[in-house]
């Protein structure tokens, strides 16, 4: 009985958590009204800072991971596929796996580790130090200045980094298979480009936009949930990181179910 109580309570908590999160996201975006510029100059400067921090600064680690994962996954995959089907479906399987699964997921996990935790600590510390209140008193909107630039920069970073990651990983995976199995590099590349249809590209973009949106929203939500104690910063950071990863896999499962 206690177990069912616990399950019920967790379900209700999760339901309200999702409602809070959705409300938070909608109220953040509600600041964009038709008569208003999307970003004013102060917000634009924060947006650029965030884009550099979460997007451009992550290129090095994403490149390294793309090469390493490209080679390691390709070597395993090539071995398995060749032993089952021969080399004929190799590129297709590699492309499907990388574009629809590995690329967005690994980029998402890197962004959760690097940027989600960074945003929570940044906002949480600003909250504890009382840096936010005087700005509110000067008429600066919290959602406009603190939340929206972070969410939008996270979405853009996720989309571009996932594209970049997938391209590098596919390229290295393909080169590796070409080296191992004496395939024609030109032919493999042509075959690969044929596989990239508008439909698969749209699905890829949508998935990454949702990943970026969920990571950014969770990071800001938990960062601003800090009230006045420094210990809450780490507590909220743990929550944000774990829940972001859970959300990534839930979204990924959703795509698998509806796109297979």
């Amino acid at each position: 009985m206690i177990f069912f109580d616990w399950i019920g309570r967790r379900c209700i908590e999760s339901f309200f958590y999702i409602i809070d999160l959705t409300y938070f996201l909608l109220s953040a975006f509600s600041i964009w009204r038709p008569q208003r510029h999307i970003f004013n100059r102060a917000v634009y400067s924060v947006f650029l800072d965030q884009l550099v921090l979460h997007g451009i600064n992550a290129i090095a680690i994403i490149s390294f991971l793309a090469i390493v994962v490209g080679i390691s996954i390709a070597s395993q995959l090539v071995f398995i596929i060749v032993s089952i089907t021969g080399a004929k479906d190799l590129i297709e399987i590699l492309a499907r796996l990388v574009l629809s699964e590995v690329g967005p997921l690994i980029t998402g996990v890197v962004l959760v580790g690097r940027s989600c935790s960074g945003i929570v600590v940044d906002l949480g510390n600003a909250r504890v130090a009382g840096e936010i209140k005087p700005l509110l008193y000067l008429g600066v909107n919290l959602n406009d200045y603190f939340v929206l630039p972070r969410i939008v920069s996270m979405v853009i970073s996720q989309v571009i980094l996932a594209l970049y990651f997938s391209a590098i990983m596919l390229l290295f995976g393909m080169l590796f298979s070409v080296l191992l199995y004496d395939l024609s590099a030109q032919e493999s590349l042509r075959e690969l480009l044929k596989l990239v249809t508008m439909d698969s590209f749209f699905r890829f973009m949508l998935k990454n936009i949702l990943f970026g949106l969920s990571i950014g929203t969770l990071a800001c939500f938990h960062g601003l949930a800090v009230e006045n104690s420094a210990t809450q910063v780490t507590e909220q950071m743990h929550k944000a990181v774990v829940r972001s990863i859970v959300f990534l896999f839930l979204l990924d499962s959703y795509f698998i179910i509806f796109t297979l």
Partner: protein, 252 residues
């Protein structure tokens, strides 16, 4: 509505604030704050004083009664009007720091960039000249953590003044400052009193400032509010609670 033709003033009529963090009861406040005058709220409970200050600054709406700031009824403002209304009211907090992720110059530029949308170049020029006016002789590209407490206070004052507000609200402006720095801060604040409504709490941290500049001192306790026309009448008051506060101040 143009704010330029309206005389800067704050009128409170039987106004009771939402007292957050204070155990004391909040009596109704009726007072008038005029341009070029400094009003200081004093009393035994800082949280209670802050709730009155936030109400007079238009930050929180009154629980009861009316507060009118520059001809605008506070209770009638919607969210958007309230936000643009804030550009007319400078807020300086000695307790709350600057934005640590931005350098001093950007902290000063922020209200203009946000509200007026001037170019970065114009805004930076304006911010730099204000910093010079406030005797800030340090590199404006330094981050708040690299500045001394007084330098941070100067930057915070510049941020509060950059939009040339008609009302300046001072929340513990002498907090954490040394004796010499208090004197310098008092001089700066005195310079910007002209033409503005000034309202503050924490004046008793530096009574010399109140002695020189306060035009009205409002004593607020759990069950009464007494207004005094300046420092002299405040110290000469025979009210027992005022005397208790002053004797406590002398001991400190």
């Amino acid at each position: 509505m143009s704010h330029s033709i309206i005389q800067a003033s704050i009128n409170a009529d039987q106004a009771i604030p939402y007292a957050e963090g204070s155990k004391l009861n909040c009596p109704a406040l009726s007072c008038q704050l005029q341009a070029s005058e400094l009003t200081c709220l004093v009393g035994p409970d800082r949280a209670q004083l802050r709730s009155y200050l936030l109400m007079l600054a238009g930050i929180s709406k009154p629980r009861d009664g009316q507060v009118e700031i520059m001809g605008q009824q506070l209770s009638e403002l919607d969210q958007q009007a309230w936000q643009s209304f804030r550009t007319q009211i400078g807020y300086l907090s000695g307790m709350s720091p600057l934005l640590s992720s931005q350098h001093a110059l950007m902290n000063v530029m922020l209200p203009i960039l946000y509200h007026l949308g001037l170019s970065f170049h114009q805004t930076a020029d304006k911010a730099r000249s204000l910093l010079v006016e406030l005797d800030c002789h340090f590199d404006a590209k330094m981050f708040p953590a690299q500045l001394s407490i007084f330098q941070r206070a100067q930057v915070a004052l510049a941020r509060a003044l950059i939009l040339q507000p008609k009302v300046l609200v001072l929340d513990l402006p002498f907090n954490d400052l040394g004796a010499k720095e208090r004197c310098e801060m008092a001089e700066l604040l005195g310079k910007y009193k002209q033409g503005r409504v000034m309202c503050m709490i924490g004046g008793l941290q530096y009574p010399q400032f109140l002695q020189k500049h306060a035009d009205q001192i409002v004593f607020i306790s759990g069950h009464k509010i007494i207004s005094f026309a300046g420092w002299q009448s405040f110290v000469e008051s025979d009210d027992s609670e005022v005397q208790r506060l002053l004797s406590f101040l002398q001991k400190v």
